[in-house]
Assembly symmetry: C2
Homo-oligomer: 319 residues x 2
Amino acid sequence: MTRLSIEETVQFLNNNDGYLILTHTRPDGDTIGCAAALCVALRQIGKTAFLFPNPEITPQYEVYTAGLTADGNFIADTIVAVDTASEGMLAKGAEKYAKDIALCIDHHPSNTEYADRLLLDASCGACGEIIYEILLQLSGALTGDLAERVYVAVSTDTGCFSYTNTTANSLRVASECAKEGFDLAAVNKKLFRTKTRARVAVETKLYSSMKFLAGGKAAVCVLTLADIDNAGATEDDLENITALPAAISGVTAAVTLREMSDGQGVKGSVRSYGDFDSNVFAQKFGGGGHKGAAGFTIKSDISALRSEIEDALETEFRQ
Amino acid sequence: MTRLSIEETVQFLNNNDGYLILTHTRPDGDTIGCAAALCVALRQIGKTAFLFPNPEITPQYEVYTAGLTADGNFIADTIVAVDTASEGMLAKGAEKYAKDIALCIDHHPSNTEYADRLLLDASCGACGEIIYEILLQLSGALTGDLAERVYVAVSTDTGCFSYTNTTANSLRVASECAKEGFDLAAVNKKLFRTKTRARVAVETKLYSSMKFLAGGKAAVCVLTLADIDNAGATEDDLENITALPAAISGVTAAVTLREMSDGQGVKGSVRSYGDFDSNVFAQKFGGGGHKGAAGFTIKSDISALRSEIEDALETEFRQ
């Protein structure tokens, strides 16, 4: 494995051809935006380039890959992975390329160095910030269609510039992209100011089930299988929903219990701020994680488990 | 009334002293952030400067005005208003200064030119973008406490860079501010990733009351006085809540009915996209507004009015 600089990456991209670009499983705006922008830029300089057809791509990102995905007949000379930390994270169906990846461009500090060459900048909030620098050198300047894809990458991975990974550089790259004349307002409305009916329905169920404990410092929510089914919610609709109770003023520890299908039991997500250690709390229920976010899975009745969790939280805050 | 450039404004600020800075009624992050940043910057260059004590300031912004507000004894030589479009928009209690405002710095195209001097740039998404340019020239560079206040101004007025008024310049100014070493993650969490319990309670009530019509193209919600009282919601908690039903996928027209206190009847808010004309719809109920957002107030029973509104929406979409 060889580490590359931006300049060496650009040189590599200029010197090769026949690109197949891989994205990660459960693809987000960062991996899709990066891959699609790189693919368009490579075509602009005369290369043959295609995206691996990620079967899990969600509707709001399909517009960015239209006309770019490879069919079964394309034989790649050079395989590039973007925003993908490990072989295990490759898109479904792309595992077969795991040993042949010539270049990986990534921002995850946990990157397992699985590719022959690696451009890694863990200081970037989004992989799109790295792709931006590459495209500037590869193409000289960003056209509107490149800028929109890079903007999608950076804005989605930083939660529209509100997550803790947002930096001055994330905002700078977004600003440079926004100058290039795509419809910024339309992109923002689509990505950040629209919720599906199913999302609204599960959020309403989640909040309706919420109980505050320890004088409002803790909160417990549940989502039953019936709640999820009645809402018609997909995994996409449930994304990051466990962050909601912890985002309420005064709450420093929140647990969301979600009933899983097929007898997989109940999944608990713990989120906390300050002194409360989510990892220690989750360990009491056979799980673990980090201080600020942890989880566990238990085969238990959700109502009984809820009482147990509530007692454990009250005890924790009495100490 | 004389129009000033940025340079002329900086010259004016350098040549005068004894500043009282006025904000607008129902103050938001833009007016408070701008006024507080300007006040700190003027003090940094040796001027006497105070903020008018806006009685409606909300808790999350109080940290930015601490130590800056004038008491009753301060006699101002130079009165400046920021982000305030008209005399009628001045903070409660500041009306008495209306005829003595030496300088107004604003970004509202509707500014009524009430001040002796006006620096107006309607191309800016936030007034904070104008203040940023002034401070750069006034102070040479932004310190962290100036940068944080300007960031608060720009980020809140653009809905964390997601509203339609966001431009490449909004993002650029935010990026320059974020370089100056305040706790960006903490500010974003406080302003954009936290909801009060009362807000969550009224949102849940609003969504629970929601009915979809015309195959999901329209939605109607109600908030009764009991909903608002039970939630313990203030006007702050209700801010922009009428935008929520219109932000659901597929919905192109939404009406929110809110029961007002003291027999003031029911307030209807209409929001729409595309062909649906909110103004025309609101006129049917004695109100009006713009194509995308309009309103009306009716002395009527909220349940009866709801049925009437639902029928009117169904009729509208059948045409």
